[in-house]
């Protein structure tokens, strides 16, 4: 389907009728003299619009509200958003669905299967797998959200500025980003995080931001460069607009969509990365409850007690999937090329 925003030379007939232009409804554009005669001009509008279009007045629709409208009708978005909402709620208030304490364990029940009130059974330490799985969401969501926010803010600020101003700063940033791209994620994690002793989530968040920002910066830089070449940015400059206005009013709003898409998809992969690092013993550490730690503990027992692995791993997969699906849906809604 042709993109409504694409410029078209005169007389060029696209493959199909242009939907957006075709629907621009109460179209006027009447002859010049209409402008002089207000009454006639209004009449001209109705005439031009023809029946059907004269009826319901079209409301102003921004591209954002268009995107939202489309998102709402996308089942992928509805399912993934519902899942994510659920995950966020239980990561804030795990007590809502799990009454137990994830750290209260009874060694006597080590590796036992499901029992009444303990549907997922017990792990090696005798802790309730259900409670731990529910509480594990908090670590994953916190790391995912914080790391994504950090990487997106840092990446889009650096990438955006580099793309907008160009010059040596741009070259420098691109080379630095290349260096960060060269760091092997797992190896880097093993090296950096093994020297940290903190048991909070912040070292992990910091590490992921450190590795994640170049990806966002690249996307932001590219989309800022595309956006700043548009005539409306030149028009603003011809009006005397300063750099701040051009960047914030004209470039950023038109360059942010790809960043949002990439960041949403990255969120899922960051959650998986946290689990990977925790699995390797350099991510989160007990007493923090994390799916990665639980998977790590369960891995050696997979033959005796597969349920210990199944539940946290399943929760992790569903969470990652939900964010990636959300990213896909957002891309469909924001990326005009796919429309």
């Amino acid at each position: 389907m042709p993109d409504p925003e694409r410029p078209e030379p005169a007389g060029y007939d696209p493959v199909g009728p242009r939907p957006k232009e075709a629907v621009s409804p109460t179209g006027q554009g009447g002859p010049m003299d209409l402008a002089l005669d207000e009454a006639e001009s209004v009449e001209g509008i109705e005439k031009t619009a023809g029946p059907g279009a004269g009826g319901p007045r079209e409301r102003p629709r921004s591209l954002w509200s268009d995107a939202w409208h489309q998102l709402r009708r996308n089942p992928v978005f509805v399912i993934s958003a519902a899942l994510i909402l659920f995950l966020v709620v239980i990561s804030i208030w795990p007590q809502l669905i799990a009454s137990g304490d994830p750290l209260q364990c009874d060694l006597a029940k080590s590796q036992q299967g499901s029992a009444p009130g303990h549907p997922f059974g017990y792990d090696t330490q005798g802790c309730d797998v259900y409670t731990r799985t529910v509480y594990g969401a908090r670590a994953s969501i916190t790391v995912g959200v914080c790391a994504t926010l950090g990487a997106a803010l840092l990446g889009s600020a650096l990438g955006g500025l580099a793309g907008f101003f160009g010059g040596w700063g741009d070259s420098l940033l691109s080379r630095v980003a290349d260096i960060f791209f060269g760091i092997p994620v797992v190896l880097g994690g093993l090296v950096f995080l093994s020297v940290v002793t903190s048991t909070t989530v912040w070292p992990v968040v910091g590490f992921i931001v450190l590795l994640g920002w170049p990806q966002i910066a690249r996307i932001a830089r590219g989309s800022v460069i595309t956006a700043k070449q548009n005539d409306y940015v030149q028009a603003a400059r011809a009006l005397g607009a300063g750099n701040a206005r051009m960047l914030l009013r004209h470039v950023a709003p038109n360059a942010v969509a790809p960043v949002i898409v990439v960041a949403t998809i990255a969120l899922g992969t960051y959650i998986a990365l946290e689990a990977t690092l925790s699995f390797l013993g350099v991510g989160l550490r007990p007493p923090t409850v994390s799916w990665g730690i639980d998977i790590s503990n369960a891995a050696s027992q997979i033959r005796n007690a597969p349920h210990m692995l199944l539940w946290p791993a399943g929760a992790l997969s569903i969470t990652v999937l939900a964010f990636i699906m959300l990213g896909d849906a957002v891309r469909d809604a924001l990326d005009p090329k796919l429309r």
């Binding site: 389907m1 078209e8 030379p9 005169a10 007389g11 060029y12 007939d13 696209p14 493959v15 199909g16 009728p17 242009r18 939907p19 232009e21 075709a22 629907v23 621009s24 409804p25 179209g27 006027q28 554009g29 009447g30 002859p31 010049m32 209409l34 001209g44 005439k47 031009t48 619009a49 023809g50 029946p51 059907g52 279009a53």
Partner: protein
């Protein structure tokens, strides 16, 4: 008759409903003849051509009715592989944007030669020789040296010549040129149009020229079909239509273009905008913009009336064609 389109209807499914892009178009081209199809964007001129070529995007497009007779046979009833054999060999198309119509990773010699390899089963070496011959034919200088060049190494005018060479390769009997010179500069445009007209005479081909440029039409066409909102509103030999248009839309178009050869006063401007194809006005589609519109225009769709006063065959889809012709 080489090609005859009868009562063709094409629709497009869009998010907001069904857009009626072509609503009963009929035209015919004979060998050696040039038919210009004139219209603005959204008039259905390109969609009609795509339907004839069989390159319509289906879906969202759909041919809702009509016949396309090529040498007496209905193309719409043919099997796809049969149509594919006709496409390229019997009828060919030239597009506006030569750069995006040529494959950027293959040399032009390869792309030209491929036509012969695929359709004629020639060897690679013979095909390449043929390619050089074709490039000579469309007057590309130093064809022998340039046959190994890639499309981006040619200028816009040269690329359009290569497109023409490609269309001519298998000596088709019908060529459809969709805005072939719109993207080119005037001096180059003249070269390319001249070449096209000359080759058409030489091979006695039928040519359908799709354009929005009244000047180009006046220069090369024999007859002309003016399209508006998916219908032909006027059809006539080119001399007649410029002398005395029989449809207010044609008249408006002719009056609204500035002239090179005179400094006019204020331009006549057709008021309003072309209609939304999702909601074509009832009656005559042009009625909201027409200075002559009356009650009947808002209720009855005008058929293509024969203009009986004319010594040559011509037609106008206006209830008041007589007034228009004399007005």
């Amino acid at each position: 008759m080489l090609l005859e389109v009868r009562d063709l209807h094409v629709e497009f499914k869009t998010r907001d409903g069904v857009a009626k892009a072509v609503n009963g178009v009929a035209y015919a081209v004979d060998a050696g003849e040039t038919l210009a199809v004139l219209g603005e964007s959204g008039s259905g001129k390109s969609v009609t051509a795509q339907a004839v070529m069989g390159i319509l995007d289906v879906p969202p497009g759909r041919i809702a009715g009509g016949e396309i007779l090529f040498k007496g046979r209905d193309l719409l009833k043919m099997k796809e592989d049969e149509r594919r054999r006709i496409r390229g060999a019997e009828m060919a198309m030239i597009f506006q944007d030569a750069l995006s119509s040529l494959n950027p990773v293959l040399t032009v010699g390869k792309q030209l030669g491929e036509m012969y390899e695929v359709h004629r089963g020639m060897s690679r070496k013979d095909a390449r020789a043929k390619a050089v011959e074709l490039m000579d034919r469309v007057r590309i200088p130093a064809a022998k040296q340039r046959v190994g060049d890639y499309p981006h190494q040619f200028s816009g005018g040269m690329r359009q010549r290569i497109m023409i060479a490609m269309a001519l390769a298998l000596e088709p009997s019908l060529i459809i040129a969709d805005e072939p010179t719109t993207a080119l500069d005037v001096t180059v445009q003249a070269q390319v149009m001249d070449l096209l007209a000359e080759l058409q005479r030489e091979f006695n081909m039928g040519l359908i020229l799709i354009t929005h440029d009244l000047g180009v039409v006046a220069d090369v066409a024999d007859k002309i079909a003016v399209m508006y909102a998916g219908r032909i509103v006027e059809a006539a030999p080119v001399h007649e239509i410029y002398k005395a248009p029989a449809h207010p839309y044609t008249r408006g178009l002719l009056d609204s273009i500035p002239r090179l050869d005179q400094k006019g006063q204020e331009l006549y401007a057709i008021k309003g905008l072309p209609p939304n194809l999702l909601r074509i006005p009832p009656g005559c589609a042009f009625n909201p913009r027409c200075p002559m519109a009356r009650e009947v225009c808002r209720s009855d769709v005008p058929p293509l009336y024969p203009v009986t006063e004319s010594p040559v065959a011509r037609a106008s889809a206006c209830h008041f064609w007589k007034e228009c012709l004399h007005g």
